[in-house]
Homo-oligomer: 588 residues x 2
């Protein structure tokens, strides 16, 4: 090894030792007779010092010629510092340097390698290898490693076995777009990259593996939003001979273990469980943030029939009670109105009722409702003097969606979404299908392999939209961390599902015949769950962006700006693959 110690491990007990360190020059301070260098590596920072008169002049000379991010190897004596820095583990000592060797020089980095850098996103991505040197980024990747290995250790103890499923599979038209891979050896044919190992893990259940997991890359060729990546990682799990409850308990166990080991947060109680229907009704979202209350109250009975057309024509009148905000100014209320009216939310307007501290009530709908009526609203919310009630009305789904956003906004403004508080929640009983207006057909809400609740199967023929599924999501602080379902393991039911989803028998057989055939050879009852690993890491790390937890992320156009990929390939490659590019780039 080129070093005897790392830059993070020497302390006052090491004083008197001669050591060799390697690392990057973080900072040089030259105070006339004294030169200090902060030497950095993955493990920390150690201060080097040289002193005119007692240090070798050649060494001081070398030190003065160093630049930021030079890589050096240095030898010296660990001594106690005069002026200690108790904020860092190595802060009580420094190295009295006797030798310095430059292992590699560095040009001046395009941005500062500091916790708060002066580099913008684009620049940091282009020089990601420098961005990765910054402590906050390194901590994110270390957290990710920790979460992965702890997950594996836990699941291994629970007798799960990690099995690698193939990356080169077959394209299926259901769901998101696949990335495809042309096969040279099978001309005109393509592999696809998996959106998830779904069918393979089900086959592993048919094969009797009974507890499978895999931390695995998945791929989706979607138009990217800020928080999506074309390749992402799942903790993918499946179990046989289980019911829904067993799966929830097992992965609640994993989640608690990770919280305890990594965040030192212990949950004494079971995670609460809420039906999809209740989540939509009470929070307007299938991933409610339950770190705070402000639950929805429906006001149809109180609001309608008072000649207020906005309410009378609405599919739903619904509101929240915001504690202590009765004193919101007109300007603040206008802001909130603009907030719900923005195109993404699309509410028509916002009704407010101030339940003033003096007990009086003042609303934006005083013309239509008298104080007694408004008091009954306040009672519905169990509002206290000083609270502000905000009400939306309109189409049921849109109104719930908008009020959900308003609730989150108000929770944020009031500091109720505390970063160090974690409120996990199982959302269960999702609908099996959702109707798509554009294509006039049902789509599987989870995926086509999800089983309907046995008690709802009779609805499949007549009212498929009402069938509930054995499907569940794990939601933490309003973020969907994982989701899964009990699967269909009966060939006929699976065929029926494909038919409801608009597949002909031939299409179903061509795409998923291998799975349905497998169901005929003793398929056990089974189900599973997948965690979005990038998001799980972001939640633990306290960030909204999964990109911060990926070593080499792509940008919103799916480009890696560091290696400049994707890129054109040679005509020879195209020819070998029997492909022609039909796109004509615009002349520059």
């Amino acid at each position: 090894m080129l070093r005897t110690h790392t830059c993070g491990e020497l302390n006052i007990q090491s004083a008197g030792q001669e050591v060799i360190l390697t690392g990057w020059v973080q900072r040089i301070r030259d105070k006339g007779g004294l030169v200090w260098i902060d030497l950095r590596d993955r493990y920390g920072i150690t201060q080097l010092m040289m002193e005119e008169g007692t240090s070798d002049p050649a060494v001081i000379e070398t030190a003065k010629e160093l630049g930021r991010e030079f890589v050096i190897q240095t030898k010296g004596l660990v001594i106690e510092r005069v002026s200690k820095n108790l904020k860092i583990p190595t802060g009580e000592i420094e190295i009295k340097v006797s030798e310095i060797k430059v292992l590699n020089k560095s040009k001046l980095p395009p941005f500062t390698i500091e916790d708060n850098t002066d580099g913008g996103e684009e620049l940091r991505m282009k020089y990601r290898y420098l961005d990765l040197r910054r402590t906050p980024v390194r901590r994110n990747l270390e957290l990710r490693h920790r979460m992965a290995i702890e997950t594996r250790i836990y699941l291994d103890k629970q007798k799960f076995i990690e099995i690698e499923t193939p990356v080169l599979i077959k394209s299926t038209p259901e769901g998101a777009r696949d990335f495809v891979v042309p096969s040279r050896m099978n001309p005109g044919e393509f592999y696809a990259l998996p959106q998830s190992p779904q069918t393979f893990k089900q086959l592993l259940m048919v094969a009797g593996y009974d507890r499978y997991y895999q931390i695995v890359k998945c791929f989706r060729d979607e138009d990217l939003r800020a928080d999506r990546q074309p390749e992402f990682t799942q903790i993918d799990c499946e179990m046989a001979f289980v019911e829904q409850n067993d799966i929830l308990n097992t992965f609640e166990g994993l989640t608690k273990y990770l919280f305890s080991r990594i965040k030192e947060v212990d949950f004494a109680d079971p995670f609460p469980r809420m039906s999809y229907a209740d989540a939509m009704k009470q929070y307007g979202s299938d991933k409610p943030d339950i770190r705070f209350g402000m639950k929805f109250e429906e006001l149809d009975d109180l609001g309608k029939g008072r000649d207020f057309k906005v309410f009378d024509d609405a599919g739903l009148v619904v509101g929240i009670c915001v504690p202590g905000c009765a004193d919101y100014t007109r300007k603040q209320l206008d802001e909130l109105t603009e907030f719900v009216k923005k195109p993404q939310l699309g509410a028509k307007g916002l009704v407010y009722i101030r339940f003033n501290l003096d007990g009086t009530i003042k609303s934006s709908v005083d013309k239509f409702f008298n104080e007694t009526e408004l008091k009954s609203w306040a009672e519905r919310f169990n509002a206290q003097p000083g609270d502000l009630i905000l009400v939306l009305a309109g189409d049921i789904n849109l109104t719930r969606k908008a009020l959900n956003e308003l609730r989150l906004e108000m929770g944020g403004r009031l500091g109720l979404r505390k970063p160090d508080t974690y409120a996990p929640l199982w959302v269960v009983d999702f609908p099996l299908l959702e109707w798509d207006q554009d294509t006039a057909r049902f789509y599987a809400m989870h995926h086509p392999f999800t089983s309907p609740k046995p008690e709802d199967i009779h609805l499949l023929a007549g009212s498929p939209g009402e069938v509930r599924a054995n499907a569940y999501d794990l939601v933490i602080n309003g973020v969907e961390i994982g989701g899964g379902s009990i699967r269909i393991h009966d060939k006929e039911l699976q065929k029926n599902m494909f038919s409801i989803l608009g597949f002909t028998d031939e299409q179903a057989q061509a795409q998923f015949g291998f799975l349905m055939n497998a169901f005929e050879f003793g398929a056990p009852p089974h189900g599973g769950l997948a965690f979005g690993f990038d998001r799980f890491c972001a939640l633990f790390g306290g960030s909204d962006s999964i990109r911060d937890y990926i070593a080499f992320p792509k940008n919103n156009s799916g480009r890696d700006v560091m290696i400049d990929s994707p890129a054109i390939i040679s005509d020879e490659q195209l020819k070998e693959l029997n492909l022609k590019v039909t796109f004509e780039p615009a002349k520059k």
Copy 2:
């Protein structure tokens, strides 16, 4: 859970317990008044029994209607068996069944789910989910899981962190063919799937991560041999601030740990190390099987100049001494001659010298060499009476290659390649470059990022073929398990390497500019190693075929015959990707 216990955990201590088991019907025996069922799951087999008179007749009826591979749930009492089977952990007990529920039926499987199945390769691959039920296949995947998690635990303790590198990267023309992935969002451009995370792990070293690993899928679009897969798995590792010795020691540590934990084989001594030059000279191979001796001895000085034209014209006269085979018959010797003359080996013939037990010497070249001369040959090999000396002559490389195969053949015949003996070996000091006659250029023997030995750098300009690299392989029992090198970390040297490899500056910059640029910002000395994980598992499992250790392997045409992939994709998909397939399938 649908069960209280697995089929592998009940024993005599469990007698008297009421239990619920689930699993697959392995076998039914109906002996008039008694019915036995072997119930199988991943954990073992438990015997169920029913008895006319004491068991519920309805249950017996159900049992008699079961078929092989039916999935059942059964309830019953654990009782001590009358006739015990001490070969299996559950062999002292059976379950007196009170209830049976069929969870799923099964058609008759196309082959028997037994250790020795009647199913051929093709059929087993098509129904891989049934093949995976067989105990030997399950044990292989369990071994693979065990090796992966133990590897991670070991490397984690050594402060390695696992970092995921991207799967969608950029195509590079050097080395094997890339699989490519058309980008819809970047029309006309392609990602490539990584042949290894080489450049990314080097960038992680530049980024200061100093100890990286990843168990990672890699991809190579090669014409497949029996033992290659288009997607395969590596244990990919890299370290900074190290010299070659540090890497060998670290991964020797990992290898010893795995042997100890998984195979209960402990190596007291360091693994031997041998230069590439010595390996070629003494074994004719860069991956010698050193479980046995039979080292090459060169005989140019003794064999040439005796008017034996075959020897006189040869680039090399070289032989091995096969212990105790002097009594080989003419027929056996003819067989060996045919063996070395087969086209893959291409030797012109085989010379033998029998050192008979009575001390006489008899050879196929008695015409050219007298007994004294042949005795000096025997002395060269330190041959004992009863030994057989086999000699080949011809072009150096071809002769070494053929003699290597002959040595392995003889080792096999004499039972010297013992499956339970493990002989690891580091082969070091590989040549940096190899000359390719066809394209008349040098290729990197390892890859273009491998550093030359400092003491050989002066040869780069004049005699590049003589330059040795800081490159090494881990060979166990003649199988290459891993390999790596100390990398170049200096931009100028890397540029020079690309130029020797025939890249123009522009090509080098376009393909690898990001890496060479990174070297300008403080790149530390670094190096690494990658294990072929599939092969490592096969070695531990005692198999020659990596396919046995992959859950869903592809066949020699790169096809997954179970899911029937690759396959054609829709015109719509092609259009979105701006692609046209130029291949016209032959009309059927």
